[in-house]
């Protein structure tokens, strides 16, 4: 088997593989930077909670559309995810509960409701689609939706980059200059939910956060400043998407988990060899004179 057969033929021969690859490209461009900011805001696990929170909305979308309509499920997921994000924020501001505690409560309620709705009307196979996604079944409208979300994410991040950095790094400063921190926080959460909805169609609710957080963690191991971290996160997500798809094609295994496993393998390697990984501790480079 030639290199062409291994790396290019699946994409050249099959439309569903090309669509899946474009979906991965879009997800990498949007979710990579979002994951880095989530991590910098010490909200890594909130992305996971939010990804579970989209389930009841997706389930209601599925029931209303009567089929696995990615648009209906995406819209439902968006409403559910946003509701959980905003309600959690409102509860944490109005009560003694911290934001992660109220997130945990709301996402668990949301997940339970979602599974109940799916189990009332759907089959086990439908539930599997919702939980693990169907990246190879992405059609042109779904691809347009994912592309639109990615474009919007990149524009919004470019616009709010400065206040977002200030809010992550020194929220007191932003408040003191009247910088409307909560507004950017909400705009950022909206982008998180939108990207989770996009990923959810491809990777399912269980792994939607995978292309966000694994590349972000890898980026932190390799890069020292924010722009470099954003670039590494996007690059890693791209590589994971492409090689995950190729591996799943040749090995005839599920695509979504293979993509996330590829990112996980890159993470495992990075832990050992990256400049900020284990290697630094056990194989320190000689110190300098000044």
């Amino acid at each position: 088997m030639s290199a062409y057969d291994i790396f290019l033929a699946p994409m050249v021969d099959y439309g569903f593989m090309r669509r899946a690859l474009v979906a991965c490209l879009c997800l990498a461009l949007g979710s990579g930077p979002i994951g880095v900011f989530l991590m910098m805001r010490r909200m890594s696990l909130m992305g996971d909670a939010l990804s579970h929170a989209v389930l009841p909305g997706a389930a209601i979308g599925y029931l209303v559309a009567g089929s696995l309509s990615l648009t209906a499920m995406g819209l439902g997921g968006l409403v559910a995810g946003l509701s959980v994000a905003l309600l959690s924020g409102a509860v944490s501001r109005a009560t003694v509960l911290s934001e992660d505690a109220s997130f945990a409560s709301f996402y668990l309620a949301s997940l339970a409701l979602g599974v109940l709705i799916v189990s009332l009307r759907g089959s086990n196979i439908d539930l599997l689609h919702v939980l693990f996604g169907t990246i190879l079944a992405i059609d042109a409208p779904a691809l347009t939706q994912i592309g639109a979300i990615t474009s919007l994410t990149l524009v919004v991040l470019a616009v709010i980059y400065r206040p977002l950095v200030a809010e992550c790094f020194d929220p007191g400063f932003l408040r003191a200059v009247g910088g409307r921190g909560p507004l950017y926080h909400v705009a950022f959460l909206l982008m998180v939910v939108l990207n989770l909805v996009a990923s959810f169609q491809a990777l399912g609710t269980l792994m939607a956060v995978g292309l966000m957080m694994l590349p972000a963690a890898i980026a932190q191991l390799w890069a020292k400043n924010l722009p470099a971290m954003l670039a590494v996160a996007v690059g890693t997500a791209l590589v994971s998407g492409y090689f995950g798809l190729i591996a799943s094609y040749h090995l005839e295994i599920a695509s979504g988990p293979t993509i996330i496993m590829t990112a996980a393998i890159l993470y495992g390697i990075s832990i050992f060899i990256a400049p900020s990984g284990i290697a630094r501790r056990y194989f320190p480079r000689p110190h300098l004179k000044g």
């Binding site: 910098m40 950095v165 007191g172 400063f173 003191a176 200059v177 924010l226």
Partner: protein, 249 residues
């Protein structure tokens, strides 16, 4: 500076509370333009709480704070512990946040601001540190960076919350010189301080609080032994059986 400088911030019967217990109780007074004021008092006296209320981080439980200037005219140096030092940002970008008044949330940082940021770093003795990640700086170096950001901010009112805590003598001396130069330029400077000797030798005005006002005025009068005794006698602990504080008739 005129003989009767204008007030820049007025506190009207201000009470700041945590869980209904007052951390600052019925405080009234005026910060005058161009004044150099120390906020002194024992631990738990409400000094940082008052700072946070002035910059809008805390809502008053009672009373109000009257600002005569816009938000962008206030430069605030929070306690270093409140800043995420692990954030991957370098020294120059941190200082450039001080250009907020000109560039705002979305504007481009202009070449002139970049030059001013480099000059500010020179002034605080951090020439050549531009590309250093803030996580690699010592506490003193980081405090110099925050002072450089304030220099760039060019604010008319500067609030410093414990600016010299965990800082060596040389850095403290250098930063005190910057504070004096701000005062010389007619800016209003307020600093929360623990070191009473520092207060006496560098700050002409003092606000001495111990959860309530002990004294506010010329430092030598406010820092009189009887006032310091009263401040030391402050009950740091909240009274769990306290009655409701009724408004004065």
């Amino acid at each position: 500076m005129s003989a009767h400088p204008e007030p820049v911030i007025r506190l009207h019967n201000l009470t700041l509370a945590y869980d209904r217990h007052p951390a600052v109780h019925h405080l009234s007074g005026t910060l005058k333009a161009g004044s150099l004021t120390a906020i002194a008092g024992p631990n738990g006296a409400g000094k940082s709480t008052l700072m946070k209320a002035i910059v809008g981080e805390l809502k008053p439980a009672e009373g109000r704070i009257e600002h005569r200037l816009g938000r962008t005219e206030i430069g605030y140096l929070p306690q270093a512990a409140e800043i995420n030092r692990r954030f991957p940002i370098d020294v120059l970008d941190t200082v450039l946040l001080g250009d907020w008044k000109a560039s705002g949330a979305f504007g481009r940082v202009r070449h002139a601001a970049m030059e001013r940021a480099r000059q500010a770093l020179q002034t605080v003795g951090l020439d050549g540190f531009e590309k250093r990640p803030i996580g690699s700086l010592s506490a003193g170096q980081f405090q110099r960076v925050l002072f450089a950001r304030l220099l760039l901010q060019d604010a008319r009112v500067i609030l410093l919350d414990e600016p010299f805590t965990a800082i060596d003598a040389r850095t403290t001396r250098d930063l005190l010189e910057i504070v004096a130069s701000w005062h010389g330029e007619g800016r209003t400077v307020v600093a929360v301080l623990h070191d009473f000797d520092q207060v006496r030798s560098h700050f002409p005005e003092t606000l001495l609080i111990a959860r309530e006002l002990i004294g506010w005025g010329p430092t030598e009068e406010v820092m009189a032994p009887e006032n310091l005794m009263r401040a030391r006698a402050m009950a740091e602990r909240f009274d769990e059986n306290a009655e409701v504080c009724e408004p004065a008739a």
